[in-house]
Symmetry: C2
Subunit: 104 residues, 2 copies
């Protein structure tokens, strides 16, 4: 709940309000939220996400920049996956060798 409000503060979401001022998350909001979460999980910064969402809200003229952002992000994610893969190999090596004591 607090996080949802925080995201809204940050301009990432803009749920409607009901008569009593309470937020109502429509399917679109939920989709956007899922996207935001996914980008966050994959290491996109709030700053970048704010920019991206702002561009999205600004209309089709911003497509090229958004596309560039996605390209950049894809590259970073791919690199991160590489890192993870290597770490996984190391980790599994340690597991396999029952951890060769002296050095970690």
């Amino acid at each position: 709940m607090h996080t949802l409000r925080y995201y809204e503060d940050q301009g990432l979401l803009r749920p409607d309000r009901d008569v009593g001022g309470r937020r109502t998350y429509r399917p679109d909001d939920l989709r956007r939220l899922r996207f935001v979460r996914q980008m966050r999980r994959s290491g996109m910064s709030m700053q970048a996400l704010r920019r991206y969402v702002a561009l999205s809200d600004a209309g089709p003229a911003t497509v090229p920049e958004r596309q560039q952002m996605m390209l950049d992000h894809a590259a970073r994610v791919a690199a991160d996956m590489q890192d993870l893969a290597e770490a996984l190999a190391t980790t599994r090596h340690k597991i396999r060798t029952y951890d060769g004591h002296p050095e970690p």
Copy 2:
């Protein structure tokens, strides 16, 4: 440099000192450092890393716990890779469709 000292503070490294009190990183230290960096990059917390290194320094009796830690970490890393893979798919989808404007 500052980070190396920080890691040392945290008990992750213990380089020798020369006569003048300056740190000298031996091959073992460098190997440990590389390991630490790899674990950090793959999302292991400083806390966990401190524990792991302490166990390593405590001798072979701690192998089972270290092994368990590596198993846990491997699982988390695998899950993270899954997340990244999904995010990459989403991202590439956005790139491919030239970003279907309205919703981000």
